[in-house]
């Protein structure tokens, strides 16, 4: 037995949430060639299958690009601290891609392993994610290569699987999901299905192993030559979570804010002395791949990448992780013997 719902039913659900003053977000068309996850102003704005993957990711709703941690006001000799208001509003994400939703558990680990980030957790609890299984893919998608699939359920409260002509099968995964769709669906025996995901582009395990041996390989320099050092890949990536804390103020007071940062910028590792351990773009790009396929997996036993392909689509220079990982795999295959000694070099 399966539960189904029609597109009209979904729009009606959105209307309800908006009516109750809750926030609803989903892919909307921002201009002629850009679709982004944004707060919906009306139910009609939702664009369920307008593109393979929106330009940004769901990360924005749990870790905003700019977040005020607290405000300080100078009063004569002393300083008054004003905490940011807690309790962010409840928010429903509708039509999120499975690879975006899968990133949320990863972010949960990061924001809770050594320091429990209250601001993040409050936003996370207030979130309900209804993902939509992918029916379309492009040459940038490689979720299958990192162990996901077009109908992966990780991180989603409920998964909509298209049945055709605006009918969707609802697969609730969490109590939140059930509560959401309770009484809204019509039972049926039709099972939704989606075509298989993209062919595996590389063997994540092998790449993870090869990385340590390729640290000084020329492949990094060649791949990074075309990289212009912007932050589009990191900021479009659902799992990239680095941030920078900055005080913005003046004599009378100011705020402490947490803003997105990216390891692709030289400023990220610039020392006060002016020395920069990661001077060239190659070392920075290598760091990004290392963090995703070696450093993070070593600790959390999962990849810091859900294969959504945003870094490939958003890269103004036409690069992205895919071409780097496939290049490493070929370079590794070409020189397997040298694996041992090379690893030792600093």
């Amino acid at each position: 037995m399966s539960q189904t719902i029609s597109l009209a039913g979904i729009r009606q659900l959105i209307g309800q949430w908006l009516g109750q003053g809750k926030r609803v977000a989903g892919p909307i068309r921002v201009n002629a060639d850009t679709i982004l996850y944004q707060n919906l102003t009306s139910a009609e704005a939702l664009l369920l299958d307008g593109c393979v993957h929106p330009g940004n990711s769901i990360k924005e709703f749990v870790m905003p690009p700019h977040e005020k941690l607290y405000e300080y006001v100078v009063k004569g000799r002393d300083v008054e601290l004003r905490n940011q208001e807690a309790f962010p509003p409840e928010r429903l994400i509708l039509g999120g891609r499975p690879c975006d939703a899968a990133a949320l558990p990863i972010l949960d680990h990061i924001f809770n392993w050594d320091f429990v980030d209250a601001a993040y957790n409050q936003r996370r609890q207030a979130l309900t994610i209804v993902s939509l299984a992918c029916t379309r893919q492009d040459d940038a998608c490689f979720c299958t290569s990192v162990g996901l699939a077009p109908d992966a359920v990780q991180g989603s409260d409920a998964l909509l699987v298209p049945l055709g002509n605006d009918e969707y099968e609802v697969r609730c995964q969490t109590p939140k999901g059930e509560a959401l769709f309770a009484g809204k669906c019509t039972p049926s025996d039709r099972q939704g299905s989606v075509p298989a995901g993209p062919a595996k582009q590389f063997d994540a395990k092998q790449v993870e192993a090869l990385i340590t041996s390729q640290f000084e390989a020329p492949v990094w320099r060649e791949q990074a030559l075309a990289c212009l050092g912007c932050g589009a890949c990191a900021y479009g990536c659902p799992t990239c979570h680095c941030f920078d804390i900055v005080d913005e103020g003046h004599a009378g007071g100011g705020i402490r804010a947490r803003n997105w940062d990216a390891c692709q910028f030289p400023l990220f590792t610039l020392h006060a002395s002016g020395h920069n351990p990661r001077q060239g773009q190659a070392s920075r790009q290598r760091q990004r791949v290392y963090h995703k396929f070696h450093i993070y997996p070593e600790k959390f036993k999962e990849y810091l990448c859900t294969g959504c392909g945003n870094c490939v689509r958003r890269c103004p220079a036409g690069l992205g992780l895919l071409s780097v990982l496939t290049a490493i795999q070929q370079a590794g295959a070409a020189a397997p013997a040298a694996k041992g000694e090379e690893a030792k070099q600093p």
């Binding site: 100078v74 004569g76 000799r77 003046h250 004599a251 009378g252 002016g274």
Partner: protein, 666 residues
């Protein structure tokens, strides 16, 4: 910086009447970094300043804000007071709560609120001031003086007599300039050669004056105190060390009919010549255009005649370099010509006077040569056309001057005086002659000047007509001068034997090129621009470069000499210190972040921003950058605004200071 002292001035009651100074002092205690606040009736007075000095010492203050009048009034005063107490003077700022607040806002509440804001801004600024030291620039104690007329000579003698070396560069074969060609000079009628020649001899023999004649300044690099002047010693074809000045050569030279520049064409000279008998150096020069040997390889008599073997036909121009600390420009003037061809498009000639075709229409300097004893006619006044003695001479004032239609709007200042002198000289030489003068106004403002003109009219019976000459035509040897006598209300026609034009004074040819070489300004008439018309008349906008004499504006000999001594005085001030002190509120560039786009180099009006290379110890190029020459920068800050990466900053008005002031207004 967290020990700032705020001192609010009452200014008697100029401030206190509309600004609650007590409230301002109390409010300023709340500003971050303020350690002490006080108010006093007269901060600029001695007790007021001692209040500041004592507080600095007592509370170890490290920044001072004085809320008082305009910084243009007392910033120096309060910086001096701080320095006296051992605090760096550049850690003092002023909040202008008088001219910008108490005097212009009557509402006490608003005025006080504004005064508090102004003090808050000043405190925000002073917290980011740096302790600056005056910039020391080494000074080469040698002066370069360009032009050896009376002004150049005076300046050279003053500086040389003060014990410093002088390089004097003169374009002509001899020093002396225009004054050497004059007959007698107003208002005392003493002969110009008698008063000038001794000075010329002094210049020629002075141990500390290195004289270059037949030479021009080719280029000047470097900056105040550290110029490098390249001088072009033009080929003279006579070795002045060997030559004894015996005159055998120029007496034997067959080329006799060359128009003498010194006599402005009234007389002739030879191909090898000294411009005038009292020339210094009294050594001849060969005119390349006229000498048959140099042009066609024939003759060579002068070499044969020369016992000292000083003639050298193979002489070439040489470029010589001189290290220089300060430069004085004294290039003098030339007279405006009424011909149809004019040097610049703005000027136009005098078609009314036949564009100068009539032989007996001459200009003032030519008349000077006529009456001069050492002139071509030995002082006998004769018509250039037929040599007869003129019985009626018409002098026309303001030829070119004060005449926008001819492109010269200014008055040339000295023509009224020398025209009166000319009528006297003419009367003394031709007792039955009659001088007629057409004038617009008589401008004789100097000492004993007007009495001099009255004497020309009353004793020597010069006939003055107030009116312009409309046309000069030549009828069978006579010059028909038609004008008007506006006082009598009738037209006047005079059949004159000779007409002398008191033409306008213009800067010497090439003075605008020289100005470009020295990067100093010049006005639309080509006269060199002074730094400030009243307060700095002999300085220019380029540090270390001074101007004096007629190259700056028309002026007479007494003024030129006075300016020459003034310019020399300024140079001596510079040379009196081991190093030159310069205001440290100038620009600086962060060479590690500069991206070498050189927008600042293009922008800097003083060429202070230069391109420079950053090299490592092994000498290979690390990067290119812009760098500020501390000797030239005047602190305008245009480079700071044009620098995209904000690598340029300006001490005293740095980004940190200005942004802190603006942000303190939130």
């Amino acid at each position: 910086m967290s020990r700032i002292g705020v001192f609010v001035c009452w200014c008697g009651e100029n401030i206190a009447r509309t600004v609650d100074v007590v409230q301002v002092a109390e409010a300023s205690l709340q500003f971050p970094g303020v350690k002490h606040a006080a108010h006093y009736k007269y901060m600029c007075s001695e007790p007021g300043q001692s209040l500041i000095r004592d507080k600095i010492l007592a509370d170890r203050l490290d920044g001072i804000v004085v809320a008082s009048c305009s910084p243009h009034m007392h910033l120096k005063t309060f910086r001096g007071a701080a320095q006296a107490a051992g605090l760096n003077p550049y850690l003092v700022e002023i909040a202008n709560i008088r001219e910008h607040c108490s005097w212009v806002h009557q509402d006490k509440a608003k005025a006080t609120a504004k005064a508090i804001d102004l003090v808050r801004m000043a405190v925000a600024k002073v917290r980011r001031n740096n302790a600056l030291q005056a910039i020391k620039v080494p000074v080469t104690k040698r002066a370069l003086i360009i032009g050896a007329g009376v002004a150049g000579i005076q300046a050279a003698l003053d500086i040389a007599d003060a014990g410093y070396e002088v390089v004097l560069v003169e374009r002509e074969p001899s020093v002396g300039g225009k004054m050497a060609g004059l007959s007698e000079t107003f208002p005392t009628m003493d002969c110009s050669q008698c008063i000038l020649t001794p000075r010329m001899v002094d210049v020629g023999q002075h141990p500390r004056i290195k004289l270059y004649t037949c030479a021009e300044v080719e280029s000047v690099d470097g900056y105040v105190g550290n110029f490098k002047a390249t001088i072009r010693q033009k080929a003279r074809f006579v070795d002045i060390k060997k030559c004894t000045g015996c005159g055998e050569c120029w007496n034997a030279c067959p080329q006799k009919k060359i128009a003498s520049e010194f006599d402005y064409g009234m007389g002739n000279r030879r191909a090898i010549y000294i411009p005038f008998p009292q020339a210094v150096p009294a050594r001849p020069a060969i005119d390349k255009q006229a000498c048959l040997k140099l042009k066609k390889g024939v003759c060579g008599i002068c070499a044969k005649k020369c016992a000292a073997g000083a003639i050298n036909y193979a002489d070439q121009d040489q470029l010589l370099e001189e290290p220089i600390g300060a430069i004085i420009v004294a290039t003098g003037y030339q007279l405006y010509q009424i011909s149809a061809q004019q040097p610049t498009a703005e000027l136009s000639g005098y078609g009314e006077y036949g564009y100068g075709q009539y032989k007996d229409v001459i200009d003032a300097l030519q008349f000077e040569r006529l009456v001069s004893a050492s002139g071509p006619t030995g002082g006998v006044i004769q018509r250039p056309s037929d040599g007869k003695e003129p019985k009626h001479v018409v002098f026309i004032s303001c030829v070119g001057s004060r005449d926008n239609a001819k492109g010269i709007s200014y008055c040339s200042k000295i023509c009224c005086m020398y025209t009166a002198k000319h009528t006297m000289l003419y009367k003394h030489k031709v007792h039955d002659g009659q001088a007629h003068v057409f004038y617009m106004d008589i401008r004789s403002g100097g000492k004993n000047y007007d009495e001099f003109v009255r004497r020309a009219i009353e004793q020597d019976h010069a006939r003055y007509y107030r009116g312009r000459v409309s046309k000069i035509t030549e009828e069978n040897g006579k010059l028909i001068v038609r004008g008007a006598d506006t006082l009598a209300g009738t037209p006047v026609t005079i059949e004159a034997d000779l007409v002398v034009l008191a033409s306008a004074m213009r800067p010497a040819t090439g003075s605008d090129d020289l100005a470009r070489k020295l990067r100093i300004g010049y006005d639309q008439n080509g006269f060199l621009s002074e730094s400030h018309p009243k307060l700095r008349p002999v300085e220019t906008n380029s540090a270390g470069i001074l101007i004096c004499g007629a190259c700056h504006a028309p002026k007479d000999i007494p003024e030129s000499v006075a300016q020459a001594s003034a310019a020399a005085g300024k140079v001596l001030v510079m040379f009196s210190h081991k190093e030159m002190q310069r205001d440290p509120e100038i620009a600086k560039i962060n060479e590690s972040t500069c991206s070498a786009c050189f927008a600042c180099v293009r922008t800097c009006p003083y060429q202070a921003a230069e391109k420079a290379d950053v090299r490592d110890r092994a000498g290979n190029l690390v990067k290119r950058t812009a760098r500020i020459n501390q000797g030239l920068c005047m602190g305008c800050g245009t480079c700071v605004a044009v620098c995209p990466s904000k690598s340029a900053d300006l001490e005293g008005f740095s980004d940190q200071q200005i942004y802190a002031m603006v942000e303190s207004l939130l």
